[in-house]
Symmetry: C2
Subunit: 343 residues, 2 copies
DNA sequence: GGTTTAATCGAAAACGATTTCGCAGATTGA
DNA sequence: TCAATCTGCGAAATCGTTTTCGATTAAACC
């Protein structure tokens, strides 16, 4: 069944294609009754304009792209949900691209997207210390780009982030308050802004509350399997930590799994705190203390900023950085003090 | 920075646009050395053809759509990952649409997508007993459509599913073997094929192994909050069950949360088994027994079938139904017998 | 009544790529 | 040597919309 074209619809109505087009877009040039007729016919025949012809002519696509490292992660899936909500409300379509934490892949995706396929991009960058060239280049194309969560400071665009430094500070403070004397910060890779912020925040807490306490940055891998191996090595090493801050959800899960197989008790032997949006955090054994990010809000805000840029016609652009606070949710996995008191 | 067009590139090269186009698509009409020249220039200037002009002319979009109820669910996010893998390999773009279990929304999405925006659709349908009209209509348009997991039998297209009846049977059998005398099957809504299959499979096990055992279908809501309220009502009712089969991940989480707040012990007071792909199943308190679906494989298979249809030029079409087996992973949440023996 | 002005609509030119078709010049075959 | 074939490329039509720019008629003004 070939699709109906505006030309055929016009013929049916005894009108010119241009008239039909204008009627459909509610142009002032067309009389109310003609509009009525056109609308009715369009509905009757289920006519919708060919999106590609339309995009070609209008030079926009009513489509945005989400570029994220992965989708099997509560933070990202929730953020996507928030983005989709806003996009759908604005009657935009959403393309999704996964970088799998691969810089080269991220680059090729961004190069490809700069050919006009999308009107704008929402991105949370992959780990890896490579350059921001591809993002700067995309930005130069004049089409809006908004970062969320994992940002690159050197690119002057809107950003929606959480107070990572502060959250890292609170995380570390919380562990210290619960008797930790040796904290390891588990990261998924260098070069990622949020990793540095979270780690540095933790360092500040150590300096303030118990200076000299060992506090190490452990570069695990984004790959769960190799991460587990590294965590195992860490937990069985001579100076294993008694407190862990997992920078992302996957590292928390890996830590729990490894503790289970090594029979390391949480929180007795090891206190665990993680940046995570796991819906099951409170149901784990023991309940996982988390720094929860408002993922849905972040997604919505980032998308809103994108559409804001999309609708403003080339203003004097001053990039905003919106910071939405994360919250520390202490649970059994870190409540060592309480646990001790109860004995 | 305005985008480079093929015309401008041709001018740079002293060639006609048609020649450049043909060279880029490796046409036999163009000499090797000209191709070389064109390719080089294209790379140098970062030229990629305008996708909308291209799609308009070629009447295809190199884009597919994923239509799913939600993305904050391990099954769907993993399936999406599998789909994306295949799509990316085939150099296709992926649009994502969320129906939020809303039939009307699903309909409007499918109507919209039938205007040629995508070359094909992968869908897992929303709950609700409404008609399959929109899917039948889309199918009539001649563009391929593939179901995964949540299928509609009346639409004659490729489907990738799991052995739901069998899995329901195993689930129910497992609960009976672990001392359940009253089983409730928690569904997220009527009219969904997989719900019926899973429930009916369970009924068969009851008939076979302990006929007469109360076995009820409980229609919870897809909305977590109302689901929790209904579950609470169930668990505090006069004849509350001692065994629960959760049809989807969210219901398992809701059940656990509710048990926690009602201080119902799992598995002592209630055994819980759920269709779920939770990565934390083994880490819960107690470990959640699951029926795990091979979500990634399902996604990959479904996408492969779609591309198969896309590449075949209108064959005598016979819809395939691929069934990939789920696996029962028993954990502490149902191991009542063992627990008893240990006392 | 003649001239503005407004109100509706249509013709035709884009948008940027692809494809058909034809045209040269070179090569081959008899 | 002349026709037939082959090679390599370009001109122009086309995909389906949107938009610009007139054109036509009717209403309004002086």
């Amino acid at each position: 069944m070939a699709l109906l074209t505006i030309k055929q619809l016009a013929e049916q109505l005894g009108l010119a294609p241009s008239t039909v087009s204008k009627a459909l877009r509610d142009s002032y040039e067309i009389s109310a009754e003609t509009k009525q007729r056109v609308l009715e016919a369009a509905r009757q025949y289920h006519f919708t304009p060919n999106p590609y012809a339309s995009s070609l002519r209008r030079k926009n696509s009513r489509t945005i792209a989400i570029v994220v490292p992965e989708v099997e992660d509560s933070f990202f899936s929730t953020a996507i949900n928030g983005i989709e909500f806003v996009a759908h409300s604005a009657d935009y379509h959403v393309l999704i691209y996964l970088t799998h934490e691969d810089q080269a892949l991220e680059e090729s995706i961004l190069r490809e997207l700069s050919n006009g396929r999308v009107d704008g991009i929402l991105i949370s960058v992959a780990t890896g210390s490579a350059s921001a060239r591809h993002l700067l280049d995309y930005n130069m194309s004049g089409k809006p780009l908004v970062f969320f969560d994992r940002v690159l400071d050197e690119v002057p665009v809107h950003k929606v982030i959480t107070d990572d430094f502060e959250a890292g500070y609170l995380a570390s403070k919380h562990l210290l308050e619960n008797g930790c004397t040796h904290i390891s910060f588990l990261s998924i890779g260098d070069g990622l802004n949020i990793m540095k912020q979270r780690f540095d925040g933790g360092a500040k807490a150590v300096r303030e509350f118990r200076p000299g306490t060992p506090y190490h940055y452990v570069n695990c891998s984004p790959d769960p399997n190799t991460a587990r191996i590294l965590i195992q090595k860490l937990l069985t090493s001579a100076n294993q930590p008694d407190g862990i801050i997992g920078a992302v959800e996957k590292l928390a899960i890996a830590t729990y799994l490894e503790c289970k197989s090594l029979e390391i008790r949480i929180p007795e032997d090891l206190r665990v705190l993680a940046f995570s949006n796991l819906p099951t955090a409170s149901l784990l054994k023991p309940g996982l203390s988390t720094i929860r990010q408002p993922a849905y809000e972040i997604g919505k805000k980032a998308a809103s900023l994108l559409f804001e840029s999309l609708n403003k016609n080339k203003p004097p652009f001053t990039p905003k950085s919106i910071v939405v606070p994360s919250v520390l949710e202490p649970r059994a996995s870190t409540l060592w003090k309480e646990w001790q008191d109860h004995q």
